[in-house]
Symmetry: C3
Subunit: 345 residues, 3 copies
């Protein structure tokens, strides 16, 4: 269960309140007034905890759980041990997320109200109602920060940056040349808005090209720790609403992501490549520049994408091909390398 | 066109002045006194803007542009729409870069003159004329910073570091054990001079080896956001003049780069590998240690280099081979995987 | 030899003291009272220096060295030039490391005693005897830091974090939700304890899952610059004692590393993957989630691991296979691509 040094749940809540918060349905015979104090994994939960089953590989833990209540898909309900109160959901992981957020809403990243006395805030900056500016933060001229946003210790927000409401910027983030929506979370050490990697190569000395675009970020976006998002060279770098970027992701200048894209750790996207909506990419994949990746495309981890990907396509390998072809290539090479007459064969 | 919240061009300038600044020649019939106010991409430019054509894929935008003036190669001049003033250059992208820098010289990264009152500067540090030290910067004992260099908010410059003139160090950079030339730009979050990854492996406990070298960086170098440059173990880690390193590049101890090398995002170079001059490497490539990569070599993105690369060589794949062989391997595997008798074939 | 601007050796020491410090044996005829002033590489060392030979590729430098003393394996002793005092060791690199640490113990990362006046330390934080807190550090409520630990400029230590004795946290590290042992070194810009990448994907808006675990780090661990270690989602992310993580390594939530693991630069490990003890991984390798990697396994650089790896296994490639099979695949493809009838063949 969560360590009380770091996590203090709201609540307790009744099962009825929890079901309402997460859109689940109380199972047959469940006492709606039963009280739950926190969430916990199946194998650590006790009678005061809510847990969940989503991935079928955890059915054994489910059948042995001591949790007081559990969110589960109706088709798994029969595997429940006696005594556990079931909350039924067609999307148990999503319902668990909503329930867990009911106990643990996003934590404050600034520990005091208002602006910390050690922060260096330009007098022309505009801070919305309920904004919290942490210790040793620097806020430049003309910055606008929306209501109830929090800027944690050590961040540097460059002149002219606009940040919407209810954002959480974790410690030591730097932002410049950016217009950012609301409910955006940026994790420690992310770098947003610095110059893209643009220059005219020349043996007399490469000529760096002024990078004159911006970074535009929608609402409900999360950007991982130590990620780097360069601003546009002429047009803008754009991250659509709802995107999730993991740690150490790198977006070069003029990259455009549609809505709801998911980019796992250490991905790199070269300049001017454009994603549609809800593209999902595995870790350490890399994209050449000036490509188009269609809505709903899925890219395997470590892929090297050097051509356009159609909407809905599943690609993998390097150079990336449809995943089915990639797997066939893998099997082919494995078989050929085992034939007689080849080295060590 | 550039957002005035973030970019305020110098100027306006006459075409004559622009041509002089960028080494272009005024096209036939061009009014040398015509005034231009800023630069803009072909498809966004208006009569007050300068644009350029370099990549042939943008010829359609060129023929439709409303730009007042455009830098172009003489052989493309005939595709120009009527009314646009042409500046002719054999290297249009380079000329555009110089012209754009005439309007937009490198921006200040510190907003006040001198040393910000919140900076913590050791009294033995030496700051050149016109140096600007931003808020919450820490400068250690014996540091020497050349004239007109700027150290942005939150940087930490360790004892003994030497930095030349006209450098721009963006926010939250850490530098230690380094001697750095002039006109060097370091982007946010770069880490320069920390210990290399050196230890004697031992089941009783790995013995970390003192890292007793330095980082030596030439003039006119740019180092990307969140890049990591370890100092040498015994001899030094060296980055030659004119190099360009993109975001999240990692150089291990004792790596030596010659002049003008170009390292794209997320490249990793293992210890003691040496590059000649003007080596160009694509993103996410990795190099084993103790290798030699010759002058002018070109390495494809995502390559894994485990042997020496001759001067002028073009290599790709993992283990990397000459690019021509790599492409042939790719095609071979694709063809073999489609033959009958193989799985799913 | 080490630049005195950055490195001031302790000493001088007699060969007898050095041999005792590093567990080596004085060679025949060596004057135990001879005094040595510092360490240096074979080709830079003079009569006042100690050097070492480990990698056989450096035998030529050994035979030509001017070093006053040299640590060497007994079987290499006969290649020594006349006049060099030999210290014999079965593990010369390890012995050199110990000797070099005798001259150069880990450097202070804070330059003053106690807490710098610009640090922002919560009054409920507990600092052990001899702790040094550098300029502009932020220490949150309830933090516990052990004796003689040093927290360098600009670090942000979140509420409730526990750090043991004799730790060195380099500048601009952020730590939250973590319990960390003693003698741990964390290099600049590392991010420890932020939220893992967890959400229920949903076209209506991905639902981020509260990340309710911690980061648990043992003793004698080193974590590289700009590395990112996410806290657990429910259970904890764990790094065993003695591990060495290089720059830009990324560990996702719930990853567990055993004792003494070695992870080279830019490695990524996906959620819930577990390593045994003394696993060694080359740079830029990536691991899928929920895998088991056995004790003593060795993984080649740039590998993509998508299945379990047995204890002691040597794996490489993507999808990774035993190294022997991977090499055979590489050779097979090279040979097939050279056959007649294939493109460019």
């Amino acid at each position: 269960m969560p360590d009380p040094r770091f996590f203090q749940p709201r609540g307790p809540f009744t099962l009825q309140a929890i079901a309402a918060a997460c859109g689940a349905e109380l199972g047959p015979g469940v006492d709606a007034a039963r009280v739950i104090h926190d969430v916990a994994p199946l194998d650590e939960a006790g009678p005061e905890h809510l847990s969940f089953l989503d991935n079928p590989r955890y059915v054994p833990q489910f059948t042995a759980t001591r949790a007081g209540a559990c969110i589960v898909h109706p088709k798994q309900a029969s595997a429940a041990p006696p005594g556990v109160a079931l909350l039924l959901s067609m999307a148990p992981y999503r319902a668990y997320g909503l329930a867990a957020r009911h106990f643990h809403p996003p934590a404050d990243v600034v520990q005091q109200a208002g602006t910390h006395p050690t922060a260096v805030v330009d007098p022309t900056a505009s801070l919305g109602a309920g904004c919290c500016i942490g210790p040793l933060v620097v806020v430049g001229a003309g910055v606008e920060i929306g209501a109830h946003s929090q800027i944690a210790a050590g961040c540097v927000i460059g002149a002219g940056v606009v940040l919407g409401a209810d954002c959480r910027v974790h410690p030591q983030v730097t932002i410049s040349h950016a217009l950012i929506g609301s409910q955006v979370t940026i994790f420690p050490g992310a770098r947003i808005g610095q110059d893209g990697f643009g220059f005219a190569p020349d043996p007399r000395g490469h000529v760096s090209i002024p990078q004159l675009g911006r970074v535009i970020i929608g609402d409900d976006v999360e950007i991982g720790a130590n990620a780097t998002i360069d601003r546009g060279a002429g047009s803008d770098t754009v991250i659509g609403s709802g995107c999730r970027l993991d740690n150490q992701v790198h977006l070069a200048h003029n990259v455009v992501l549609g809505r709801g894209c998911i980019l796992t750790g250490q991905i790199g996207v070269s300049g001017s490549t454009r994603f549609g909506d809800f593209v999902v990419v595995g870790g350490q994949a890399g994209f050449a520049g000036h490509l188009s990746v269609g809505t709903g495309a899925r890219i395997a981890a470590k892929s090297g994408i050097i051509g356009d990907v159609p909407a809905g396509g599943s690609y993998g390998g390097y150079p990336a091909v449809p995943v089915r072809d990639w797997h066939r290539q893998t099997v082919t090479l494995k078989q050929l390398s085992k034939k007689k007459g080849l080295p060590d064969g």
